[in-house]
Assembly symmetry: C3
Homo-oligomer: 147 residues x 3
């Protein structure tokens, strides 16, 4: 077990996305790595949380076949269809709320020695289920600074 002690630093930033398709999966790992680098935090955590309730965060494989499998599967478990009660408000995106729920909308990434401490295949995706408009993800990095 490695242990570090120090003063806390918290860095806050936001990523904005506007996808071309209504449903899209974006690999944001490099964005997050850049923010961790910029924060100067060497040991800590990075919260990544979709701020709009029809988008989620997925930590999984950088493999396009699996992305398609994921979308097919989400569509089976939480299908787009007209007859949701939510649609009586004028919305048509109830399935997107449920898909976000299945994936979960956030992750906490560990930071060790100044980098995201991910497994060999872990990549971080922004999962949009009702896009084509500007939507935001909060990134909060928390830990002990280099020094």
């Amino acid at each position: 077990m490695k242990t570090q002690t120090g003063t806390t630093t918290i860095a806050t930033d936001y990523l904005w996305f506007e996808t071309k398709e209504r449903k899209e999966l974006l690999n944001i790992t490099d964005h997050l790595e850049a923010l961790v680098e910029k924060s100067g935090i060497s040991d800590g955590f990075c919260l990544v949380s979709a701020m709009h309730i029809t988008a989620g965060i997925w930590v999984n494989d950088n493999e396009p076949g699996l992305w398609q499998d994921l979308q097919t599967w989400l569509e089976e478990l939480a299908p787009a269809k007209p007859d949701y009660l939510h649609h009586k408000t004028g919305e048509d995106n109830a399935d997107a709320h449920l898909k976000r729920t299945l994936l979960h909308h956030q992750t906490i990434l560990p930071i060790t020695e100044g980098k995201l401490d991910l497994g060999p295949w872990e990549q971080v995706f922004y999962a949009e289920f009702d896009g084509q408009r500007r939507k935001r993800v909060v990134v909060k990095i928390y830990g002990i600074s280099k020094g």
Copy 2:
């Protein structure tokens, strides 16, 4: 990117719920805002975690039609039915364990400038699937104090 540095404060509290119905969705956003205010923490995180294994936490829309859609959907994916092995112990709530699993049982909310840093529609719900008795949620707020 905004960065703050300081000494860490951690505040711990518990919320108790006893729902009238067996399944209920309670908007607890105001409770959490009040705890963040009371903690004096200006930048950090708020962990909200259901301590009983038949309840979850859901971050989504404050729209009653969608709540009903969610309950219908959870009932389809994780139905209440007699034939779970868990029921051989005398319990009858295996579906509640699975529903908690689908929703996830916790969330981490970012705190920025002394307030929950939520998206425009994000509200936090306690999701009870086997209520009518006293159950608890731990709230741990962590960050840098005002000053």
Copy 3:
């Protein structure tokens, strides 16, 4: 509300697992309690995150009947079957990626008075869906030390 203030300590460790079966559920609560004890942290958080993308973390009941119910249910919602696009890469484990997604791959456990602050029935499980090889879980403990 109890509040503590102090200097931050972060402890990092890794747990390795090699399950005998391809799918297995391991109760790792005692391992985590031991790491919290070793870290000397009295108030804070413990991130537990599966670093391989075919495994997850589940916080639920220490009841073998329910474990079997969970596995049956996951198999219904995310079945092992040949016809995933991911399998064109030579893999045969797309269902394991989806099962990890359903369970979620991580949890944050609160630490209060030097111990995991879990509910009366909460236990932490490593959920392996494509095992029989060495795989890793990162544990990062974060908070204020005893003093």
